[in-house]
Amino acid sequence: MARRTTIPFGPQHPVLPEPIQLKLTLDNETVVEAIPHIGYVHRGVEKAGERMDFGQNVFLVERICGICSFIHALCYCQGIEKLMDVEVPPRARYLRVIWSELHRMQSHHLWLGLLADAFGYESLFMQFWRNRERLMDIFERTAGSRVIISTCAIGGVRRDISPENLQYILDELVVIQKTLDDAVDVVLNDRTIRARTVGKGVLTAKQALELGAVGPVLRGSGVAVDARTEGFAAYGELGIEPVTEEAGDSYARTKVRARECYQSLDLVRRAIERLPDGDIAVRPRGRPDGRTVSRVEQPRGELFYFMGADGSARLDRLRIRTPTFANVPPLVAMLPGCEMADVPVITLSIDPCISCTER
């Protein structure tokens, strides 16, 4: 006989380092309905963005998310540059690509590690995080901080990477790739992991589009949408092909992220190879005026900023739509029909970043 129960998943759950609550209605062991309850991390960044001046906001938006901080700053700076009509020097655009792609790799390493940990593969988790520490060392040496690197500024970047450090990055990437080869091989081919991810949390291409999924969730369903193809920063010159997988299940999303690590490795190498000389920043003049939207690709998907300014030192409106915010509705659609035991893995498969979601 079927019995309906309601189970709260979270706010404090070992799989998720961050507080979010999913109210799961279960029919025996099968999920019937999942309703997300958020608000544990809400700070009010959008309002603070109207109070601080537009230069200080760079440091505010960086602290929306500590995992992809550089990319938040990049999106904000590109929007302001559009409003102020600032031309960013080529070297700065290439440096932005290098740091963004290192951030993407770092984030995917982190997520792959957490996925391994969710299955109880502690050694694999350690492998990924040990590799990630190499990336953190690169940040520390090139940007002066491990997590929130604060190198993006309006009109360019705040720091240059010296030739010795560029060589250091290239040397480290060789080691990183070697370790990554080993670890990704386990994630993609291990029998247990396949059993827990293949066919779990399926999202068809049509559903994904309709539910507004972004990033690896959308690309894992076979839709080739990647904001980087628009060619912001130096992506236009470097060229990029979106990574897609057809199946639309948790395994496909894992595979997209694993392949994107290699794509980022390649992009960093090519960006370093073609890094032009010259200035790293221009001094912006005047104040932003008008309204614009700005889009970049985060590790978790498309990041969308709407900015309104009225020619004063403060913005009139700063609207931030983060990728996880867009990926919550697909999660709500994926969960019904799955087993209770699969909920953590499916939840993890959208790579939730709650501090982004709630801002």
Partner: protein, 120 residues
């Protein structure tokens, strides 16, 4: 495959940094401890104006500077804003504390005739 990994891990150096025994050489350019040089400061307030977290308070007439370490986000905006170079970020990190440190200094009151603003 597995055996080779076991052997290579057995004979390679450990990944762990023996932290308290040997602390790592701080990386050059790390945005760590914030330091003010009291002698150079003219209390122009440029650092306080630029600080995104409002961690610095400067009272220009009274010539005092208050720095709240607990609000500081180590963005190095103050160091960039200071034209006299009296705010520096040293590459060592701030150690944890049991109590909130009070950081405050004040300059000697200057005679009105001398008080030409050096930096604005």
């Amino acid at each position: 495959m597995m055996l080779s990994r076991v052997l290579s891990n057995l004979f390679s150096r450990p990944a762990t940094r023996p932290f308290p025994k040997t602390s790592r050489e701080p990386v050059e350019g790390y945005r760590g401890a914030v330091e003010f040089s009291q002698e150079e400061c003219v209390f122009c307030g440029a650092c306080a104006l630029r600080c995104p977290a409002n961690a610095i308070e400067v009272d220009r007439p009274a010539k005092t500077l208050k720095f709240d370490l607990f609000k500081c986000i180590h963005c190095a905006c103050c160091a960039e804003a200071c034209k006299r170079g009296c705010v520096q970020l040293r590459s060592a990190y701030h150690p944890p504390v049991y109590q909130k440190p009070e950081f405050e200094f004040s300059g000697a009151p200057v005679l009105a005739a001398e008080a030409s603003p050096a930096t604005e």
